[in-house]
Amino acid sequence: MSAILETRDVVVRFGVLNAVSHASIEVVEGRVTGLIGPNGAGKTTCFNVITGLQEPTSGKVFFEGKDITNKNPYKRARMGIARTFQKLEVFGSLSARENILVAAEQRKTWDRSGFDPNKVCDEMLAKVGLTDVSEFMVGTLPTGTARLVELARALASNPRVLLLDEPSSGLNEEETEEMASLLRKFVDDGLAVLLVEHDMSFVMGTCEYIHVLDFGTIIATGTPAEVQANAQVQAAYLGTETVEEAS
């Protein structure tokens, strides 16, 4: 399986601090790839590099084999990269429906398949279970619900790769489970997912492949089992307690 999305030796330097150093991440279609690590390990910075919000100091980003390192964020989105944010980036003064509609309409600029944005919007609302609150301004919705709006918005642009930045934060247990089953559904439809997450049981249960970041460096990659067995990972991040919880 070849990677649809790949970062090669990405370095991001803020002043003297190396937020990310030589991180190489591969995302493959049809599976959930995890990107984990302690706070400040550089996970969100990696997302920003992939989506073009952060210019890397050095290194390259490839999408479907093409170098997209210098492409504008919106061009990457048009190629098929969508994301959600750790801190909500919803359009607070638009309704839930409009949030998704903006993305669906925008897709018209590059997707000539003749779809109906309104229909896509309805589908997405149904998919994440937001039909009931679709007319509410997102600014008034609870965080968990707003997170689903963000997810639906990302999906509405029909991405090939979906980057999710801590999708379970702000969700209760039930909602988290729903999110996990949603993710499985997306992946079964052929989507590639890259997931940043703190909830270890969620990560270990959902991801087929995991990259572990610590102080900006990838310290381990592999299946959940391999990563959990890795001594370096245990020392740096997971700790015995979390591993037990996950296994």
């Binding site: 989506t51 990457r76 359009f91 638009l94 309409e105």
Partner: protein, 734 residues
């Protein structure tokens, strides 16, 4: 390998060539010798020093509070008048007067501003932050003009006026100027030291980035922000006192220094005090160079005044592109619903009916007039207000939806009016209006172009600078508006069988034409709000980063809305010309355009109906004057109106239309949705406020350990300051 030419280098070359061309073309013929050079330097450095102090204060306030204070120079002007009152009028010794002005009055203003207004603006939208300070600027101007009537001339003596000064080559540098330069240097060094080398200063800077982090220093965030505003006011006052003897105690001139200070602040990228100082010097030297060596000729008589604005534009070209920031999203506390087409149509109908009934005398009116007749004067005024309404409504998509704060639309309307006088207006040709709109659309875009890739505040600065340039240079150019030409510039225009002109007999028809056009625009905007264009603009304003990651090209999206707004302003300009009949070069000053934006913002810049409410607000003052006679309390209210508006905005940032609309909708029996959303919103607000208080109290309630302080110091990079022995567990802003 491809040869890479940096776009910055190209821009630099182009700018250098243009500047060189302007210099050679307008060379005044003064010989370049020791005498002229030294006079150019002495004047330039002294002037630059004053600008540097103003700019430094502006940057400090911005760096420590996150708010760009347009009222900075107006406050400085007010303090300069206070100083005049104390010295010249009351005869106090200079030093005592300075101490009272700068150490008592200035900090008092600063703390008061912080306490009453500024503290609430930290998380407010950019437009609210800017409009509040614009309101303050107008208020300080108004207060100063009222206390110290401009009819009396006042002069402020220079320091050590009687002494000769120092002979530098062939030029004498007065003591005042020498003192100015020395003080400017001291202020720059002092501010730099304060912000980077003292705990108070570091706390001040930390407050902007993270209130909770600042709380950890043990300092009370409220005291820190109060101190920041006090410091800002002190620098403003200092600059005011130093510059007033050079330029004279004239409110407009002293307040307009804000344009200069903005340019210097842009050079400093709004954060570097040394660069603000250098920026001030550059502008001072450029102005001095122009006055010593250049001769602008009658056509460009006021080009001199455009130098700071031009430098601002150049600085914007060289600023690094803004990153798309995430995690800074403002939590909206707003419930609204898309207006349905029939509701918009009803609203438009009500507007037409209201104004129509008034114009035809179907509703009772004030003393002296009877039913049936409206005086031509009042019909003319009504038309004037509607024209202003047209300018205001042009701002709705731009500021309200796309979040692009622009102060230039009044100036664009002015240029539109002048253009119309050349193309069509003088022959009563309606097609000229279309032409003007087609010109004003790209004009609106061009103003925004240098700031498109930068953050929103720079756009506001650029548009303000443009408004100043338009007034001083473009409109005053004889090819645009000949100052000697008097009389009618606009012949009556016939549109759809209605004759519109400034002629008294046509005024009712004109007013009706205007209100119908306005209502149509209102309806069109409400419909536009329901389309993908408006959705995209609002999305871009709410979160640029998220918009980009769903494929929105931010640049073209912004360009679109600037063109729409420009065209609408151009149309308003044509109507302005037709309503006045003739134009004067003084019709479009910057200070006349700012209140319009403020008036609209107070009503609610996101809602097209706010422009109509703004018209009613405008009309209410002259109407009340006529009803009540001319009570002094009313003029007092009118005077501090902008201040009241500013405070209202700080407490009710969404605007009057929103709050009254929400509450009214909740009363309607069939608007269950409005009640439900209000409940949701109140619950959410409560949830957020709980967290906020915790953060606010952090520094007060949570005791912390020396190693926490050390950690904080490391984060803030002040290890050289940390003295383990002196560390007090409770920290302190001492």
């Amino acid at each position: 390998m491809r040869l890479k030419v940096s776009p910055r280098l190209i821009s630099a070359l182009v700018v250098a060539l243009i500047v060189l061309f302007l210099i050679t073309k307008n060379w005044g013929g003064a010989s370049v010798n020791a005498k002229t050079i030294s006079s150019f330097l002495v004047v330039g450095i002294a002037l630059g020093g004053i600008y540097a102090i103003t700019a430094g204060g502006l940057v400090v306030t911005y760096a420590t509070t996150g708010i760009f204070n347009f009222a900075h120079a107006a406050i400085g002007c007010f303090l300069a008048f206070c100083y005049w009152q104390l010295t010249v009028k009351q005869g106090l010794p200079t030093l005592v007067a300075i101490a009272i002005t700068l150490l008592v009055i200035a900090p008092a203003i600063g703390f008061l501003l912080d306490k009453v207004i500024m503290r609430r603006l930290r998380d407010a939208a950019l437009v609210v932050q800017l409009m509040v300070t614009v309101g303050l600027m107008l208020t300080f101007m108004g207060i100063t003009l009222t206390i110290w009537s401009p009819k009396t001339g006042r002069t402020l003596p220079q320091f050590f006026e009687s002494s000769k000064g120092v002979q530098l080559g062939d030029v004498t540098a007065t003591w005042h100027r020498i003192i100015t330069v020395v003080i400017a240097l001291l202020v720059a060094l002092g501010l730099r030291f304060l912000l980077y080398r003292t705990r108070l200063g570091i706390s001040m800077r930390a407050v902007v980035d993270s209130r909770s982090l600042a709380g950890l220093t043990g300092a009370k965030p409220s005291i820190i922000s109060g101190a920041s505003w006090a410091l800002g006011c002190m620098t403003a006052g200092l600059a005011g006192i130093l510059i007033a003897p050079e330029t004279g105690l004239v409110v407009d001139n002293l307040t307009l220094i804000i344009v200069v200070a903005s340019a210097a602040a842009a050079i400093a990228q709004l954060k570097s005090i040394p660069m603000a100082f250098i920026g001030g010097l550059i502008i001072g030297l450029a102005k001095s160079f122009s006055s010593v060596y250049l001769e602008w000729g009658t056509d460009w008589a006021y080009a001199d005044e455009a130098i700071p604005a031009a430098i601002l534009f150049i600085a914007l070209l060289f600023l690094p592109m803004a990153r798309l920031e995430t995690g800074k999203i403002r939590i909206t506390k707003r419930t609204e619903r898309l207006t349905k087409p029939w509701e918009a149509a009803l609203g438009a109908g009500v507007m037409i009916a209201l104004v129509g009934a008034w114009a035809n005398g179907w509703i009772p009116w004030i003393s002296g007039t009877t039913f049936g007749e409206r005086s031509a004067v009042w019909l003319g005024r009504g038309a004037g207000f509607m024209v202003i309404g047209l300018i205001m409504i042009s701002l709705i998509p731009l500021i309200g939806w796309a979040g692009q704060v622009s102060f230039a639309n009044f100036a664009i309307a002015g240029i539109g009016a002048v253009l119309f006088s050349h193309f069509g207006g003088q022959n009563g040709d309606a097609i000229g209006i279309v032409f003007v709109m087609l010109v004003c659309a790209p004009l609106g875009l061009m103003i925004a172009l240098p700031a498109l890739r930068l953050k929103g505040l720079y756009l506001a600065l650029a548009t303000m600078a443009f408004a100043e340039v338009a007034d001083k240079v473009i409109i005053r150019h004889p090819n645009m508006l000949d100052p000697s030409a008097t009389g009618v510039l606009f012949k009556p225009v016939n549109i759809f069988g209605i004759t519109i002109s400034s002629d008294p007999s046509d005024r009712r028809a004109f007013l009706m034409f205007l209100v119908v056009t306005f209502a149509l625009l209102f309806f069109m905007l409400e419909m536009l709000r329901r389309t993908r264009w408006a959705r995209r603009w609002i999305a871009m304003s709410d979160s640029p980063a998220a918009s980009a990651t769903i494929g929105v090209n931010l640049t073209t999206t912004k360009m679109m809305v600037f063109m729409l707004s420009g065209a609408m302003a151009g149309f308003a300009g044509c109507m302005f010309g037709l309503q006045r009949g003739a134009l004067s070069v003084d019709s479009f000053p910057l200070f006349a355009g700012l209140p319009l934006v403020l008036l609209l913002a107070v009503q609610g810049v996101r809602y097209p109906v706010a422009a109509f409410m703004g018209v009613i607000g405008l009309a209410s003052f002259p109407a009340l004057y006529e009803v009540l006679g001319k009570p002094s309390w009313l003029s007092a209210i009118e005077l501090i109106g902008p201040g009241i508006a500013a405070i209202a905005m700080a407490y009710r940032p969404e605007g009057a239309v929103f709050y009254s609309g929400r509450d009214l909708a909740g009363l309607l029996p069939w608007r269950k949705d409005a009640r439900l959303e209000k409940e949701l919103m109140v619950a959410k607000e409560r949830e957020q406020n709980i967290g906020k208080d915790e953060i606010n109290d952090m520094g007060l309630t949570r005791p912390f350990t020396p190693d926490k302080v050390a950690q904080l110091d490391r984060v803030l990079d002040i290890t050289d300051l940390v003295d383990e022995k002196k560390m007090v567990p409770t920290g302190g802003a001492s």
